[in-house]
């Protein structure tokens, strides 16, 4: 991407791992030697309601650390998509959604890409737990917000040992789906 | 051995207790227990709260003392003991301080069972502030704020603290000095939360309002009311009416 600052919003419902995916993206940004800032839903929303994780990745220090206009929206549920689609900047923004969870609206001039993240995760990894990492890595593949290696090492460094292998497989699956 | 306990007193001070107050007796009994245990008072920390009893250690004891906010002796002591477990921590404070305003900390202290020795001085009301009702005032007793008699029941503090989980729980009166000295020694030695309720006469604030106006009257009143637990076991409910049972209620072995 040409911009020096990219505003990413991951969204879904609580329990899908939206916040964890946001944290992994944040660490990937740091591995890429970028400035990173983010925030996410807190309290009850993070546990069950509509949930979001924002990450700003920038080449220079970030003065205002909250998302103002979404450059990349990663949507894991219909409800979250409906809430946050209006924050995407038409023309410049891009939406990446889970095909099994979201039916996108027709919006002219807005680039929206479906990824069969849930289906692929169940079929190839026999796990719904890592759909978050599958769709995140597809988005990385499509948008190049961070380098692929930066995301892989973020997961290697920050995911607990017993989930690491599965998450690394999920990353590779996501890259493949995003090609 | 006269004046042999003076070595434990901070030099140059004059006692602030009223004539007939039991706190002076208790001060002596605590120091006697420490002396008999042969503990170096420099290894002890005395934590006291607000009220007459808080003045027993602070400033009188020639050792580390921490005079705290009203009701909060146990949290202050918890911090000091948790950070430096080598300190032998003794809390000395009144019924109003430890059981009224500090009641929540008292039960939580007992629940945590941290190695603290708590000596609660019960004079049946708030002495220092002018004789107002406390959670320990007997039902019907007269105080500055219950001029027609206290309408509420007092706490049975050993039962409360025992139920909350303390390792050692006892109640004695200053009129039972030898038993009290041995109880204090035991409380200090036991690891875990040790609690002694000490009944202490307050002729000025409690006695005057309850037909016990002289120090002698109050001492006699306590001697008459207090009955050892072992003795009480053989008595009928009618015979126990109005008596205060003293002794050990949890001896640290359960």
């Amino acid at each position: 991407m040409a911009e020096i600052s990219t505003q990413v919003r991951l969204c879904g419902f609580g329990g899908q791992g939206v916040i964890l995916a946001g944290t992994m993206l944040g660490y990937a940004g740091i591995n890429d030697e970028k400035w990173v800032a983010g925030s996410n839903s807190y309290g009850a929303a993070a546990r069950g309601g509509t949930c979001r994780a924002d990450v700003i990745i920038s080449d220079k220090p970030i003065s205002f650390p909250h998302v103002v206009e979404v450059d990349v929206l990663i949507a894991m549920s219909q409800k979250a998509y409906d809430v946050y689609i209006k924050n995407v900047e038409t023309g410049a923004g891009i939406v990446i959604y889970d095909e099994q969870m979201v039916s996108p609206k027709e919006i002219s001039g807005l680039k929206q890409i479906g990824i069969p993240a849930t289906n692929a995760a169940i079929r190839e990894l026999n796990s719904k737990q890592v759909v978050n990492i599958v769709i995140l890595s597809s988005a990385v593949e499509i948008t190049k917000i961070v380098n692929r290696d930066a995301l892989i090492s973020a997961i290697e460094e920050n995911v607990p040992e017993r989930f690491k292998a599965l998450n690394l497989e999920a990353v590779e699956l996501g890259f493949k789906l995003g090609k | 051995m006269t004046r042999d306990l003076e070595q434990y007193l901070r030099p140059g001070l004059v006692t602030a207790f009223c004539p007939g107050c039991g706190d002076g007796i208790l001060l002596g009994l605590i120091l006697r227990a420490i002396d008999e245990l042969k503990i170096n008072i420099d290894d002890m920390l005395f934590v006291s709260g607000i009220g007459c009893a808080g003045w027993i250690p602070s400033p009188n004891f020639n050792a580390d003392t921490l005079h705290t906010l009203h009701g909060r002796t146990i949290p202050f002591a918890t911090g000091a003991k948790m950070f430096n477990p080598k300190l032998q921590v003794m809390i000395i404070s009144g019924d109003g301080d430890l059981a009224d305003i500090g009641g929540n900390h008292l039960i939580h202290g007992a629940r945590r069972n941290i190695d603290l020795t708590v000596i609660l001085v019960n004079n049946f009301l708030y002495g220092m502030t002018g004789g107002q009702v406390a959670c320990t005032t007997p039902m019907g007793a007269f105080t500055m704020t219950t001029t027609e008699g206290n309408p509420y029941r007092p706490f049975d503090l050993p039962k409360l603290v025992d139920a909350a989980g303390a390792t050692y729980v006892a109640r004695y009166s200053v009129t039972q000095p030898l038993a009290l000295i041995s109880s204090i020694k035991k409380a200090v030695q036991i690891k875990g939360f040790s609690f002694i309720e000490v009944l202490s006469p307050c002729p000025i604030q409690f006695g005057r309002r309850n037909q016990l106006g002289t120090p002698i009257d109050m001492i006699k009143f306590l001697m008459d009311k207090c009955i050892m637990k072992e003795e009480a076991e053989g008595l009928s409910p009618e015979e126990l009416e109005g008596k205060i049972i003293t002794g050990e209620f949890s001896d640290g072995r359960n």
Binding site: - | D64, T68, F83
Partner: protein, 375 residues
Amino acid sequence: MKSILSPGSYYFSGDEAIAEGAIAARCGYFAGYPITPASEIVERISIRFKETGGVFIQMEDEIASICSIIGASWAGARAMTATSGPGFSLMQEGVGHAVMTETPIVIIDVQRAGPGLGQATRPASGDIMQARWGSHSDRQIIALCPWSVQEAYDQTIDAFNLAEKYRVPVILLTDEAVGHLREKMDIREDVDIFNRTKKPGAAPFGTEEDDGVPPMPTFGEREKLLVTSSTHNDYGIRKTDDPLVQAKLVSRLYSKIMNNREKIIDYDSCYMEDAEVVVVCYGFTARSALFAIEKLRGEGKKVGMFRLKTMWPFPDRLIRDIGSRAKKILVPEMNKGQVVEEVMKYASCDAILYSQTNGEDIHPNAIIEQLRRLV
């Protein structure tokens, strides 16, 4: 001293950074009670202390928490608690006690929208005056105000050092927006640690030294300490009827902070050389202010920023100086004007409040709009 966490970059929340800052500062005792939005500090400390050897205890309430850290501080600990508005209110008597007994403690206040229970998960800056005056009677404390995750970490370390140096409670006045913000932050190799001054046998509550800070002994050092927050002489003996002792003590507690304020006060400024309108700001709001100022500077507008990193003691001389050079001062605040009134005391130019108390952080556009009117 060496940092405890390996040096490098981390993606921490403000709350996590505060917990790590405390650990880096060799905090040895933490007592707290969970409250949104400060609970993550309590949680992280409880886990991390198992690795670093600190003493953690969750108390029955905030009153017990602050009392217990005062006890631990006298037992030799670098001690801390963390809370938010309602809990900070409960702690106030303890803060006064720590001021009067000159006990070094650190209190983290992750401010949320109030009054009352307010909005537990929403930011505000409503505790500025509570930090200054929250307990009865006169008191001097030190309060710091971080604007980023990095600074939350750095200032937590500063808070411990200032507390030990000046024997005073230090309050880190952060807010939910910083507490829950995640950012890249760097852990450096080394940490500066100031250890409390010891002088065996010296008076623990009085000094003739210029800085006004007596040495601080610890329980168990055979000093036969008398610690009381009743009015006391240099050795801790209660003197509750002596006007001279009271006057001397209260004056020293006041002046040991005020006379050293030039050394204590830290601030940040940019675009100030030719600024006609200066935004005086602090905490998360300063992030929005910087964004707004950079945007207007891009349009050639003469706007500048002065950021309060130290809230208390207040930088009276610096504000006086800004007031003599600028035409106007704008103070954006997530309260009804707690800092603008301080600015008005010292600035000779107009000081204008932009207040927002809806439980949301102030958006840069709101500040841009205000500045356009003033420039």
